[in-house]
């Protein structure tokens, strides 16, 4: 090889490598750090945050939500039509295929519904689908879904139910090889380390902009922050409010959780409505928003119902901070110095222990004799939902994935609800009636009335609508959603 030939070879290699680099610049890839690894990629078994964050991009449901929370058609071609009190009809989108090439059709919907409600599968998601009786194919692109009773929340439920490919679910390894219809396909999953998704070029909604997304599983918030600062991650979830000033970029959005104390309305001290009112007036919520959450939380508007949920009563006001009035109410009730026990746990929800201790201190300040009982989680669950006596006040960060007020009302307000602490048969009847009311406006009004009733009687001490905070690299462009879904197809990178 002469020197000239050698030089030409070098030149050609340099040209080719530059070209290759140039073309690779078109391929956009991002890295996302999430706090917990999916326990499985089966989209129908677990109720698990890590699983959802990944599968929300691989699988789709009949209905979707806009980033603001409005229900819109997903795999269904339009919003469903209610045929009678127990039957909803869905028309399906034509021409959709699963990642393995199988068609998405009515048979897939029937199989998906049948699988998730099959008691043999013991799905944790049955909490969302307990009212569904079954599904029946009318034709290849039309499905009727039936419920065991009138169920106005069915559309919200179908936003939560991911559609599986029946053949793969029957014979494949659905727990580790995901096959959905979504904008991303599973490329690899190294358990414990990372999971890689690649864009689905054949996606019915058009190929997404980001070609590859790698999820890294990093439980420690400080390590997620470090990874973001070192440029390893483009998005980190659950950024602590105090870290917002340290990251290159962040976005905060009202989340699904509302922190609240459920008050034992049949107990000796907290059974007195004046005491309960005093509990609500004693707390300087704005000070807690500023000091605990650095401003990244909203004061709850008089109830623990999520403001984005259907049925939220916008007319309610937040409880004001009025410690003098609270003291006067205690005096009027003859309860000055009365003992109350505040039950809670630590480490499950953002700043849970801090919220519990701050509120307990506010209550002590107005003259109650407060005992704080931070319990081990299984003991706490028994306090919250067991058959024993109800605590005077128990803390919970209540979540509402379906974005419908029935979820929170059945759980906390209804006297038979798992976490309820009242014996208000009248309110329970109101909730029962609203649950089966299929007229949207009537139902909205009923929920408004129930919230007003519970607000007037101070059945709960609502605290904050918590925000989800995400740290981002400077190149990321993304507006997080109110339903906490991490949809990669909605993300872009600026470089």
């Amino acid at each position: 090889m002469t020197f000239t030939t050698f030089a030409r070879s070098i030149g050609l290699a340099a040209f080719l490598s530059t070209t290759a680099l140039g073309s690779s610049a078109w391929a956009q890839s991002i890295a996302i750090a999430i706090g917990s690894e999916p326990s499985t990629l089966d989209p129908q078994l677990r109720d698990d945050g890590g699983e959802r964050m990944v599968n929300d991009n691989i699988y789709e449901a009949l209905l979707a939500r806009t980033p603001e929370g409005e229900l819109v058609p997903g795999l269904a071609a339009a919003l469903p039509e209610q045929l009678d009190a127990l039957t909803w009809q869905f028309k399906l989108r034509d021409g959709v295929t699963f990642h393995n090439g199988a068609p998405f059709n009515a048979a897939a919907v029937v199989a998906s519904v049948a699988r998730v409600i099959d008691p043999a599968n013991n799905s944790e998601q049955m909490a969302y689908f307990g009212t569904i009786a079954g599904a029946e194919a009318v034709d290849d692109l039309t499905v009727n879904i039936t419920t065991t009773g009138p169920d106005p929340i069915l559309p919200s439920r179908m936003y939560w139910m991911k559609m599986i490919e029946p053949g793969h679910a029957a014979t494949g390894d659905i727990a580790s090889e995901a096959v959905g219809t979504g904008p991303y396909k599973l490329q690899s999953w190294s358990r414990g380390t990372d999971l890689v998704l690649v864009a689905n070029a054949d996606y019915w909604g058009g190929a997404p902009e980001i070609d590859e997304a790698t999820y890294r599983f990093v439980a420690e918030p400080g390590t997620r922050l470090s990874g973001l600062m070192a440029g390893e991650f483009d998005v980190v979830t659950a950024l602590m409010p105090e870290f917002t000033s340290a990251v290159p970029k962040f976005a905060a959005v009202a989340g699904l959780e509302t922190s609240v104390f459920v008050v034992g309305t049949d107990n000796e001290v907290t059974g007195n409505p004046l005491v309960r009112e005093a509990l609500n007036l004693a707390i300087d919520r704005q000070a807690m928003v500023d000091s605990l959450f650095m401003g990244y939380a909203q004061i709850a508007k008089g109830s623990h119902i999520n403001p984005a949920a259907f049925g939220f009563n916008t007319a309610l006001d937040s409880y004001p901070y009025d410690p003098d009035r609270a003291r006067a109410l205690l005096a009027e009730a003859g309860m000055e110095g009365a003992p109350i026990t505040v039950v809670g746990e630590s480490g499950r929800w953002l700043k849970d222990r801090e919220q519990i201790e701050a509120v307990a201190a506010y209550w002590a300040e107005i003259g109650l004799n407060v005992t704080t009982d931070i319990q081990e989680f299984s003991v706490y669950l028994d306090s919250l939902m067991g058959s024993g006596p109800r605590p005077d006040a128990i803390f919970i960060a209540n979540s509402n994935e379906l974005l419908d007020a029935d979820r929170e009302m059945s759980f906390i307000y209804h006297m038979d609800g798992a976490a309820a602490s009242n014996s208000d048969a009248e309110m329970a009847a109101m909730i029962d009636a609203a649950r089966v009311e299929t007229d949207v406006e009537k139902r909205q009004a009923m929920y408004g009335e129930i919230q007003q009733h519970a607000h007037d009687l101070n059945y709960t001490v609502p605290l904050f609508n918590l925000q989800d905070i995400y740290g981002m690299s400077t190149r990321m462009e993304w507006q997080p959603r109110s339903d906490a879904k991490l949809i990669i197809a909605e993300m872009t990178v600026s470089e």
């Binding site: 677990r46 109720d47 013991n122 909490a127 190294s190 414990g192 990093v218 400080g222 390893e232």
Partner: protein
């Protein structure tokens, strides 16, 4: 020797059985495992069905008999968190823990012998004081803090190494270095103390009087004499690390080891995974301790194995 191994194995079986029995009783006595395993929104019927499916509605003696039979047949059940065989989860994560512990302790062992020896040669000298001070610092600093500082300096500022995760040898450097720090301090101090003691013994003075050089004395006699206690302390470190000492490091560096998995299993009330982890770790510890005895015997035949 064979007699000793068989006797130790029998003892080991009893130990493993005792430990797993304790775990069985603890997991069923404290709190309600079904409430922990199911989401908050699960209904009473779902809880009852789940308990029945897992046999948790049976009386405790019945559950225990079934549990013993399952262990004998090496069936630990399915992890309720991961919905797959618990034993698969353990064997998937165990190599990561062993890799981290071996690398950390390996570094500590390799560095501690020369450091301890040099410090012992001139007690009170500059090297000695420096080694002792740094060693004390290594012991005093919490691993959590050391890990985060290491990430901050070497990954965030200098960008030499990845912040977290596994996948290449570079990912192992920071967690292994953090892991090595405290054992390095302990080993160095042990080597130093034992070396000083040995160097003051009459045989060293005799050997020196006979004209043997100090390096030769160290190599032939002294190091061999301190090797047995060194093996036992290193083995103890290995066992301590394996039984959960690495949890903090695994969490800080998102290292996919067994310690991290055990914490998750506890948090999620995954009885079957917890039992599998405890059983397999207890078994490994028994095997390692027998191996250590055998190694010690082969290094110093004067040791009696009983």
């Amino acid at each position: 020797m064979l007699d000793f191994i068989l006797r130790r194995l029998l003892q080991g079986v009893l130990v493993v059985f005792g430990v797993t029995t304790a775990v069985f009783l603890a997991t069923r006595t404290f709190g309600d495992p079904v409430a922990l395993m199911l989401p908050l929104s699960a209904t009473a019927e779902q809880r009852a069905a789940f308990a029945a499916q897992l046999g948790l509605d049976q009386p405790l003696p019945t559950q225990f008999a079934r549990f013993c039979w399952d262990i004998l047949t090496l069936n630990f059940g399915d992890s309720t968190w991961q919905r797959r065989a618990a034993v698969d989860v353990v064997f998937e994560r165990l190599p990561f823990s062993l890799m981290l512990i071996s690398a950390g302790l390996g570094v500590a062992i390799i560095l501690s012998v020369p450091l301890g020896a040099i410090a012992a040669l001139r007690p009170g000298g500059v090297v000695d004081r420096l080694t002792t001070s740094v060693g004390l610092l290594g012991l005093a600093m919490p691993q959590f803090w050391v890990g985060l500082m290491a990430i901050m300096v070497f990954a965030v500022w200098l960008k030499w190494l990845p912040t977290s995760g596994a996948g290449s040898v570079w990912h192992l450097v920071l967690p292994a270095a953090t892991m090595a720090l405290a054992p390095l301090a302990r080993f160095t101090m042990m080597v130093r103390a034992n070396m000083i003691e040995e160097l003051n013994k009459p045989y060293v003075k005799t050997a020196r009087a006979k004209g043997l050089s100090l390096p030769r004395i160290l190599r032939i006699h002294t190091l061999r004499n301190i090797l047995v206690p060194f093996i036992s302390i290193a083995g103890w470190e290995f066992i301590t690390a394996l039984s959960g000492y690495t949890v903090v490091i695994e969490t800080v560096f998102a290292w996919p080891g067994l310690g991290n998995t055990a914490v998750q299993a506890i948090k999620r009330g995954d009885l079957f995974l917890m039992q599998a982890i405890v059983f397999i770790i207890a078994g490994l510890i028994v095997v390692i301790s027998i191996l250590l005895d055998i190694i010690a015997k082969s290094v110093d035949p004067r040791i009696e194995l009983n």
